[in-house]
């Protein structure tokens, strides 16, 4: 073998660092060429339709009515209409997330119940709901259940506090009177006092050892809140709905579309959350529970102080993705005409034809919503992990 003088530097075409730079440059150049081509095509196509790529059209008068949402009239701009859509998405997503979590928690715990019947019912719920498309469920609730309800004249009532008909649902709601804000402050004060009392009792218990449980904190809360209620002179009342000839008046009114969408999303997502809850509780190593038992924890205490905190930490990341899914699935409202982001944008596209800009706006908004939810959940995740590892 010829002992060639070992080159101090590899030739350029065999220099890994150089090749990496070259490869990336070529990749970026290729992307830029494709992007430029696509953009030119887009510009050409848009110009041929006598349109443009600016966002100026958002200031034009919308001219279409939106069935629900606050502070909007057809004479306002496309952008206002879009904002109403965003508000409606947030309205359904927020309530949906809360309700789906509650339902999922109940069903997840039911799946681990020691009662065979309860366990089986929860299992059937999960298996049926999870394997049926959510859009099918939303349309089913809307077409076959809500719209098939009796008309407003035959509205089904629940003790005069809630009415259900094909015009939607109306439920009794709190009515805030003059003293409302002051009462709100007193509630905050009550919570602060309750927290202080809780901390005080914990410290006392640490010193003198456990004692029979007394609801100290709850008592303090009720005491302060009641005082606030009396002092501000019955600040909140009940606003019961009344059935009129053409619709409800008073109470909290939910449109048929909102009700159907909410039902569909909550029941669908609830099934996935139930599985997360079950999986997380089962994923806590059995030794943890046994160790707690060995330390003399009661079954309730084992669950409260050992199993659930760990299960919660396991459940958070998948829970986050379910919340994101629910928010994204709310776009399916397009099929039943609930005016959320996609629905409103679809109308705007039909009227103003600027599909490119509208879709960029819609996707940007969803990314923002997703990021917000993820940021919130990540913050929660951080507190939980920090507290756990401390």
């Amino acid at each position: 073998m010829a002992a060639a003088a070992a080159p101090t530097r590899a030739p350029l075409w065999r220099n890994v660092r150089f090749l990496r730079v070259l490869g990336q440059a070529a990749f970026v150049a290729l992307l830029l060429v494709i992007a430029r081509e696509a953009f030119l095509n887009l510009e050409y196509g848009v110009r041929r339709q006598n349109l443009d790529l600016s966002f100026d059209f958002l200031r034009q008068r919308a001219g279409f009515a939106i069935k629900e949402g606050i502070g909007y009239s057809p004479s306002e701009s496309f952008f206002s209409a879009f904002l109403v859509g965003v508000m409606n998405t947030i309205r359904v997503a927020f309530v949906g997330i809360v309700l789906a979590t509650v339902l999922g928690l109940v069903m997840g715990v039911a799946r681990l119940s020691s009662n065979w019947l309860v366990r089986r019912i929860a299992q059937v719920y999960v298996e049926v709901v999870r394997n049926t498309p959510v859009l099918v469920q939303i349309i089913f609730w809307y077409v076959a259940v809500i719209l098939a309800l009796p008309g407003i004249e035959g509205a089904l009532s629940l003790g005069e506090l809630a009415f259900v008909s094909n015009r939607g649902t109306a439920v009794a709601w709190v009515r805030i009177e003059d003293g409302g804000p002051a009462f709100g402050l007193s509630l905050v004060a009550a919570a602060v006092v309750a927290a202080a009392v809780h901390r005080w009792r914990t410290r006392v218990n640490e010193r003198i050892g456990p004692e029979p449980r007394q609801p100290w904190a709850l008592g303090a809360f009720v005491l302060v809140a009641t005082a606030g209620f009396v002092l501000t002179g019955t600040p909140v009342g009940v606003d019961a709905p009344v059935v009129g000839r053409f619709g409800y008046s008073g109470g909290l009114e939910l449109s048929p579309e909102y009700t159907a969408l909410l039902l569909g999303l909550v029941i669908y997502t609830g099934a996935f959350i139930a599985e997360i809850v079950r999986g997380s509780i089962q994923a806590v190593p059995r030794g943890q529970k046994e160790a707690a038992e060995a330390l003399g924890f009661s079954p309730r205490q084992q669950l409260r102080f050992v199993v659930l905190p760990q299960a919660f930490r396991i459940a958070l990341p998948p829970l986050n993705s379910q919340y994101l899914n629910l928010t994204k699935n709310s776009s399916l409202a397009l099929a039943i005409g609930y005016p959320e982001i996609v629905s409103v944008s679809n109308t705007i596209i039909n009227q103003a034809a600027r599909a490119t800009q509208m879709l960029l706006l819609v996707m940007g908004t969803y990314l923002l919503l997703s990021l917000t939810i993820s940021a919130g959940m990540n913050a929660l995740n951080r507190t939980v992990t920090r507290r756990g590892s401390a």
Binding site: F27, N41, N131, F140, A148, A283, L332, M363, L367
Partner: protein
């Protein structure tokens, strides 16, 4: 539950959590009926009350359900539309194509299933299956008026049973041919269904959902694999690009992507180059799906121990060969459960085609519910559609559990 946590998390990220592996408990003497009832239904007074209350509720709901199905419901809307539910407006003269595909798939599924059957099914499982088969047969007899269709269904059922038995007898020997047959079946099916004058515009009903799902799955798997490898690339330009694409796609609803495909995609292409609406929808759907496939594959790759890479390097394998020969085979095996979960999601999501007015199963069912002569039968029109979606998705998820158990995923 060995190593259940990371997989559970991965699965939940895709949105489908599967049942964890069954725990093997030490054998106990079987309980008598009385003991069983006491232990499972009335172990405490609270449980007793719970049992009674839920029992009454369940009995009432069950009664109403039976009453609805057999007494109050008017299934004439289904009888009139059954054909549209299955195949949409597929021309009558060409329907043999669909039947051919159906027979082909029945045999393929049957053999695969037979091969994967773990130790003999329990008596209860057999009973359940017999009951379900009888119910399906009864429903077919009650709903279908055509004798020819009865005959074809009977032949298909017989073929299926024969294939399952054949698969069980053949065992693992058929593994490779079956895999090849599955891979070949996708282009074959598409060709058979689009050859001649039955183009994509005539597909409808469940047929359209299935074709769309198969196309999206077949196309998004390689694309997702590429994205996942790109994301792990050591070249920042490539990995940032892939991360960007994956995260943007996962952050927006599928529906907005499909609307993008409908209105904007065509403008990005060179003028004069056009594609059918359905092709564009499937293209966007594929993009969407591959972002999720990429995340699943990435999860699988992260599950491959570092030692495997080091061992491959010690053997002198190049980066590419390490990936292809060492990392990917192990990673892909671990991704089977979440991957099938994702494929089920894809099938369910094909119902979104209805929101874009493609005449898929959901669209057909909804249109049937709006027909003038069937006013008041909305539930009868929609429920069978929902049931068809459910039965396909549910069978797939059961099947994935079987495969999972068979491959011993998460146990090695």
């Amino acid at each position: 539950m060995s190593g259940a946590l990371p997989e559970d998390l991965e699965r939940s990220i895709v949105g489908v959590a599967e049942e964890p592996a069954v725990q093997v408990a030490p054998t106990r003497p079987p309980l008598t009926l009385g003991e069983w009832v006491h232990r499972n239904l009335f172990s405490s007074w609270f449980n007793g009350v719970l049992t009674v209350v839920t029992g009454i509720l369940l009995a009432y709901l069950g009664f109403r359900l039976v009453q609805f199905v057999f007494v109050t419901a008017d299934w004439s809307v289904l009888r009139a539309n059954l054909r549209s539910y299955m195949v949409g407006r597929f021309p009558n003269d060409e329907i043999w194509r669909v039947w051919t595909v159906a027979f082909f798939l029945v045999v393929l599924v049957g053999i695969s299933r037979g091969m994967l059957v773990p130790p003999p099914p329990t008596r209860r499982g057999l009973l359940l299956r017999a009951l379900m088969g009888a119910a399906a047969l009864g429903a077919t007899l009650a709903l279908v008026e055509s004798f020819v269709v009865w005959l074809l269904v009977a032949v298909a059922s017989a073929l299926y049973a024969a294939a399952v038995v054949g698969g069980r007898l053949a065992g693992r020997r058929l593994a490779r041919p079956i895999l090849v047959a599955w891979l070949a079946s996708f282009p074959l099916i598409i060709a058979l269904l689009s050859f001649g004058d039955v183009g994509a515009d005539r597909w409808g009903g469940l047929l359209l959902n299935l074709i769309a799902a198969i196309a999206v799955i077949a196309l998004s798997f390689p694309l997702g694999l590429l994205l996942a490898l790109g994301r792990r690339s050591s070249l920042p330009a490539v990995s940032w690009f892939c991360v960007g694409i994956i995260e943007v796609i996962r952050g927006v609803p599928l529906l907005t992507l499909l609307i993008f495909g409908r209105f904007v995609l065509i403008l990005l292409l060179p003028p004069g180059l056009t594609f059918a609406q359905l092709v564009r929808a499937i293209f966007m759907f594929t993009l969407f799906s591959s972002a999720y496939v990429a995340e699943i594959v990435r999860g699988g790759l992260q599950g491959v121990p570092e030692g495997q890479y080091e061992a491959a390097r010690a053997l002198g394998l190049s980066t590419t060969r390490t990936m292809v020969l060492v990392a990917l085979p192990q990673a892909l095996r671990n991704t089977i459960p979440p991957m099938i979960g994702h494929f089920i999601s894809v099938f369910k999501d094909t119902s979104l085609l209805a929101a874009l007015s493609f005449s898929d199963l959901l669209f057909t069912a909804r249109r049937a519910s709006q027909a003038f002569e069937f006013v008041g039968d909305q539930a009868e029109a929609l429920l069978p559609g929902a049931f068809l979606f459910w039965i396909v998705a549910f069978s797939m998820s059961r099947w994935s559990q079987r495969v999972e158990g068979r491959l011993g995923v998460g146990q090695r």
